[in-house]
C-alpha cells in the first residue's frame, strides 16, 4: 500500500499540462458589468440593432434573477463586477488564411496539440479556434462552403447570415431560461455557428477549440448548430485554460436544432484547468446545453468527457419533439482532488415513439464530489416513448463522494422507462490480477477505468477517443491508494 501512496504523491504533483499563458496583447473591456459594457461588446462587434436590443433585454432580465443554489456544489459567491466580459486577442483583423495568424497565437495552439496547419493538412478536421471567447481562426471554410455548409464564428455569421442567426438564436435556450443563460445572452462575445443545408452530410468532423487566456476574464461563448432536413453533422469541442490562483467563470450556451431526419452528434472533451490540489483556482464551468429534435426521425447525441474544471455544472438536454426522434447522452465525468461535478442530462419526450438512452459514468477520486442529476420526462402525448438510463459511479479513496439524483416523470402509460445505478470501487482482486501479470498499479487503474468508460469512449470520433483516453489516465494518476 505504501508504494501506492508514493506513486499517488508523485503523480498528483504532476502539473496541469495545458497551464501556460500566452502573452498576446488583448483588447479588453474594463472590469464589471452594466448596460454600457453590453453596448460596448455589441459595438465592438459591429452588431445590428436587433441583437443589441436582444442583449439588453437579456441583461435586464438577468438583473431580476437570483443565482441558483440547489445544485450539489459549493463555491464562494461570484462577484460579477470583478470579471472582464470581453477580451479579444489583438490585432483583430479579418484573416483569409492561417498564415496570417499571429505567430504567437499559432504557437499556443501548437502547444495545445491542435496545430491548425497540421489539422488542416492531415486529419481533415475543420477547426474553429476560440481564444478568450473570440474566434481566431477557422480552417477548411472554403471547402465546406462548396457544399453550402456554413461553419464560422458566430460574430461572422451575425454579419453575413443575419437572417439565420436571428431565426435560431435563443430558439432552444431562450435568454430567460436560467441565470447563466441570461448572463450569456447579454455578454456573449463569440462562438461557433454551423449550418448544414438540406440533404447535406457534412464530409468532415467540425471542431472548436476553446481557450481562456487572459486573467480575470470570463468566457461566454455561444454555439449554434442548425441541421436542416436529412443532414448530418458531427461536432467536437475541446477546452483548456492557463493555471491561475483565482477562479474563472465559463458560462456558455450551446443550442442545437435538428429538423426532419437530421442528425447531430456533439462531442465534448472538457479539460479546463481544475485548480490545484488544495482546490485553489480553476474554472467554474456553468454551461447550458440543449438540443431540440424538432423534426420527425431526427437524432441528437451528446457525448462528453469531463475531466477538468474546478466545478462542472451542466446538463446537456434533448427535447424530443418530432415523432420517432432519438436523444442520446453518453458521459464520463472524472473528478479528482477538490473538484466538484454536478452533471447529467434531461430527456423531454414530447413526440410519439421517441427514444432516449443515457449512459453516465462518474469517477470520483481524492476529495472530490461527483453527482449525476438527470430528468426523464414523458409527456402525456408521447405514445410509446422509451428510455433507458444507466448511471454508474466508481469511487477511489474514502474521502470522495458519488451521488445520483435522477428524476423520472411519466405521464403516459405506453412509455417504458428504466433506470439503474450502481456504485462500486476498483476491486483489489482486479488490481492484483493485473499486478500479477506485470502491470503496474498505475497502469492497471488506467486499464480498468478505460474499460469502465468504454461504452462512452466508443461514441467519440477516433481522434478524440485517443485524446480522451490519455486524459482519463492523466486525471486519475495517483488516485489509487
Amino acid at each position: 500500500m505504501s508504494e501506492n501512496i508514493k506513486i499517488l504523491e508523485e503523480i498528483t504533483s504532476s502539473e496541469y499540462k495545458y497551464g501556460f499563458e500566452t502573452k498576446i496583447e488583448a483588447d479588453s473591456a474594463p472590469k464589471g458589468l452594466n448596460e454600457d459594457i453590453v453596448k460596448f461588446i455589441s459595438a465592438k462587434k459591429n452588431e445590428p440593432q436587433w441583437l443589441l436590443e436582444w442583449r439588453l433585454k437579456a441583461y435586464r432580465h438577468w438583473l431580476t434573477l437570483t443565482e441558483p443554489n440547489w445544485q450539489n456544489v459549493n463555491y464562494p459567491k461570484i462577484n460579477y463586477q470583478d470579471i472582464i466580459y470581453y477580451s479579444a486577442p489583438k490585432p483583430k483583423v479579418k484573416l483569409n488564411s492561417l498564415d496570417e495568424i499571429d505567430p504567437e497565437l499559432k504557437a499556443t495552439f501548437d502547444k495545445l496539440g491542435i496545430s491548425l496547419d497540421e489539422q488542416k493538412r492531415l486529419s481533415g478536421v475543420a477547426v474553429d479556434a476560440v481564444m478568450d471567447s473570440v474566434s481566431v481562426a477557422t480552417t477548411y471554410k472554403g471547402k465546406l462552403a462548396e457544399q453550402g455548409i456554413i461553419f464560422c464564428s458566430l460574430s461572422e455569421a451575425v454579419q453575413e447570415h443575419p437572417e439565420l442567426v436571428k431565426k435560431y438564436l435563443g430558439s432552444v435556450v431562450p435568454m430567460t431560461d436560467n441565470y447563466f443563460a441570461a448572463l450569456n445572452s447579454a455578454v456573449f462575445s463569440d462562438g461557433s455557428f454551423v449550418f448544414i443545408p438540406k440533404g447535406v452530410r457534412c464530409p468532415m468532423e467540425l471542431s472548436t477549440y476553446f481557450r481562456i487566456n487572459a486573467a480575470n476574464t470570463g468566457q461566454f461563448e455561444r454555439t449554434l448548430i442548425v441541421a436542416e432536413d436529412s443532414s448530418y453533422v458531427s461536432y467536437l469541442e475541446g477546452c483548456t485554460a492557463p493555471m491561475r490562483d483565482e477562479n474563472q467563470l465559463h458560462a456558455a450556451v450551446v443550442e442545437l436544432v435538428a429538423m426532419d431526419n437530421a442528425e447531430i452528434k456533439y462531442s465534448t472533451v472538457q479539460n479546463w484547468y481544475p485548480g490545484d490540489k488544495e482546490g485553489k483556482g480553476g474554472i467554474y464551468n456553468f454551461v447550458t446545453k440543449r438540443g431540440i429534435c424538432s423534426g420527425v426521425n431526427s437524432k441528437i447525441s451528446w457525448t462528453q468527457v469531463e475531466t477538468g474544471s474546478s466545478i462542472t455544472w451542466k446538463y446537456p438536454s434533448v427535447i424530443l419533439k418530432g415523432d420517432n426522434s432519438i436523444g442520446e447522452f453518453y458521459s464520463v465525468a472524472v473528478t479528482n482532488n477538490m473538484q466538484q461535478a454536478d452533471t447529467g442530462t434531461k430527456m423531454i419526450h414530447i413526440g410519439k415513439n421517441t427514444r432516449s438512452r443515457i449512459v453516465s459514468k462518474g469517477i470520483s477520486a481524492g476529495k472530490s464530489q461527483n453527482s449525476y442529476r438527470g430528468l426523464v420526462e414523458v409527456m402525456k402525448r408521447a405514445e410509446n416513448a422509451r428510455n433507458f438510463s444507466q448511471c454508474d459511479s466508481l469511487l477511489m479513496g474514502d474521502k470522495c463522494g458519488a451521488h445520483t439524483f435522477p428524476y423520472i416523470e411519466v405521464k403516459n402509460n405506453t412509455a417504458t422507462v428504466e433506470h439503474e445505478a450502481t456504485t462500486s470501487k476498483i476491486g483489489e482482486d482486479q488490481i492484483f490480477y493485473c499486478n500479477q501479470r506485470g502491470i503496474g498499479t498505475e497502469a492497471a487503474v488506467a486499464l480498468i477505468v478505460n474499460g469502465y468508460c468504454k461504452e462512452v469512449l466508443n461514441q467519440l470520433p477516433m481522434e478524440f477517443a485517443v485524446e480522451a483516453q490519455k486524459l482519463l489516465a492523466i486525471s486519475l494518476e495517483g488516485s489509487v491508494g
Partner: protein, 422 residues
C-alpha cells in the same frame, strides 16, 4: 377552521397551550413559531415538488378532543377482526375505553404528556428531513408511548387504529407516538387509517420507533380508506445492532404522503423497507424514504411497487445516504411501477448519496405498462383479458405481500386485493 393560512392554527394552539405541562410547553412553543414562520410546504420546496397539499388545505376542518363513537363503530373497521392488541385513536387522541390490550403482554402504554425522559424525541429536530408539518405536529399532537420490556416478545401484534370521526364535519388530527423496544425485545406494530362518517379526515402523524440492542421491530402501515388524507412521518432509530422491517400498503386514499426515515447508527444493523401502492380514482400516493447509513457493515434493502389506475398519481422518492464511516455498506433499492391508464402519472426520484468507497449500493427504477408477452401467453390459453390482467396484477402485488410475515394480515390484504381485481 381553514388551513390555507397558519393564523387559525396558531390561535388554536394558544388557547390550548395553557393546559400544557411546563416541561413540554417550551418545546411546543418553539415548534409553533417555527411552523408559523414556514407555513405549509408549497411545491417550490424540493421535497414537495410532486405533492400539492392545496386541495387538502382548502377545506374547512374541525379539531375535536371528544368523541361519541362506541365500541360497535370500531368493530366494523378493517383489521378489527384480527386477533391483536387494539389501540384506538379517535381524531388524533388516544381513547382508552375503545382500546383493548391484553394485560399479559409485556408492554406499557403511557400518555405522551405524562411520559418522563422522552424530550429528546419530542423536538421536531429529532426527525431527519423535518418540515413545517413536523413542527405543527410537535406543537399540537397528543399520543402515547408504548414500551416493550427488555427481553420480551409481544405475542400478538399491536394495531394502532387512527380513526377520524367525520360525522359532523371534516377532521384535522395530529398524533405523535413513540414505540420503544428495549434490549432484545420483539414486537409487531400495525398502523391502520380509517374514517367513520361521510366527511374527510386529514391526519398529520408522527411515529418514532426506537429499536434498541438486539431488538427486532416489524412495522406495517395499512391505508385503505378513500376519505383519508394523510401526511405521516415514521422515524426509526437503530442506535445499536438491531433489526427493523417496514411494510407500507396503500390501497385507497385521498392525498397521502408517507415519510419513512431510518437511521442505522450502529454496525451490523439491518433494515428492510417494502411498499405496495395499488391506487385508482384521484388518489395521490407519495412515498418518501430515507435510509441513513451512518456506520459500517449495515444492510438495507428497499423494494416499492406500484400499480396506478385512472387519474391516480404516484411519487417515489427514495434516498440512500452513506456516510464516510459507513464502509462495507450494502444498500439496495428498487422501484417498479405499472401505469394502467392513460391518465395515471408516476414520478420517481431514487437518490444515492455516497461518501464511502468500499460499498455496494444500487438502485433501479422502472415505469411502464403491463408486459404484453405474459398477457399473450395467458390469452393464448383461453383466459379472458380481464382475468389475465387480474392474474398478472395479483402476481405483481404478491412480491410485496410475501414480505408480510403475519399470516392473518397477509391473507386479509390478499383477499382485499383479489376482491378488487375480480
Amino acid at each position: 377552521m381553514n388551513l390555507t393560512t397558519t393564523e387559525e392554527l396558531v390561535k388554536t394552539f394558544n388557547e390550548n397551550s395553557k393546559k400544557l405541562s411546563p416541561a413540554q410547553s417550551d418545546v411546543r412553543k418553539d415548534a409553533i413559531s417555527a411552523f408559523q414562520k414556514q407555513g405549509f410546504p408549497g411545491r417550490k420546496n424540493e421535497e414537495w415538488k410532486y405533492t400539492n397539499l392545496a386541495p387538502v388545505l382548502g377545506r374547512d376542518y374541525l379539531i375535536e378532543d371528544t368523541t361519541t363513537l362506541n365500541k360497535k363503530d370500531i368493530d366494523g373497521l378493517l383489521l378489527s377482526s384480527l386477533e391483536a392488541n387494539h389501540v384506538v385513536f379517535v381524531n388524533g387522541n388516544y381513547n382508552k375505553e375503545l382500546s383493548s390490550v391484553n394485560a399479559d403482554e409485556p408492554i406499557v402504554i403511557s400518555d405522551l404528556s405524562q411520559a418522563g425522559d422522552i424530550n429528546e424525541y419530542l423536538t421536531a429536530s429529532s426527525i431527519t428531513l423535518n418540515d413545517s408539518l413536523t413542527e405543527l405536529n410537535t406543537a399540537l399532537a397528543n399520543g402515547v408511548v408504548i414500551t416493550v420490556k427488555k427481553g420480551k416478545v409481544v405475542s400478538k401484534p399491536i394495531i394502532i387504529h387512527f380513526v377520524g370521526d367525520g360525522r359532523k364535519g371534516n377532521i384535522f388530527s395530529n398524533s405523535r407516538n413513540l414505540f420503544i423496544l428495549e434490549e432484545n425485545a420483539q414486537a409487531t406494530f400495525i398502523e391502520n387509517y380509517s374514517t367513520i362518517g361521510s366527511n374527510a379526515h386529514f391526519s398529520n402523524n408522527i411515529t418514532q420507533i426506537v429499536v434498541k440492542k438486539d431488538a427486532y421491530a416489524t412495522y406495517y402501515k395499512i391505508q385503505n380508506d378513500a376519505k383519508s388524507d394523510h401526511v405521516g412521518t415514521t422515524q426509526v432509530y437503530q442506535p445499536e445492532k438491531s433489526n427493523f422491517a417496514a411494510t407500507t400498503i396503500t390501497l385507497d386514499g385521498g392525498i397521502i404522503r408517507n415519510n419513512l426515515n431510518i437511521r442505522l447508527s450502529s454496525e451490523y444493523s439491518e433494515a428492510s423497507l417494502v411498499g405496495l401502492y395499488m391506487v385508482k380514482g384521484n388518489t395521490h400516493i407519495d412515498n418518501h424514504t430515507l435510509v441513513d447509513h451512518a456506520k459500517a457493515n449495515c444492510y438495507s434493502n428497499e423494494l416499492y411497487k406500484g400499480l396506478l389506475d385512472d387519474k391516480s398519481t404516484g411519487v417515489f422518492n427514495g434516498k440512500i445516504y452513506v456516510r464516510q464511516d459507513a464502509q462495507k455498506t450494502n444498500a439496495f433499492q428498487s422501484n417498479k411501477n405499472i401505469l394502467l391508464s392513460k391518465d395515471a402519472t408516476m414520478n420517481t426520484k431514487p437518490q444515492l448519496e455516497i461518501f464511502a468507497d468500499d460499498v455496494k449500493c444500487s438502485h433501479g427504477a422502472t415505469t411502464g405498462m403491463m408486459d404484453e408477452e405474459p398477457l399473450f401467453y395467458l390469452r393464448s390459453r383461453g383466459i379472458s383479458e380481464k382475468k389475465a390482467k387480474a392474474l398478472l396484477m395479483h402476481a405483481f402485488a404478491a412480491d410485496i405481500l410475501e414480505y408480510i410475515k403475519l399470516e392473518p394480515l397477509r391473507e386479509l390484504l390478499d383477499q382485499t386485493i383479489l376482491d378488487r381485481l375480480s
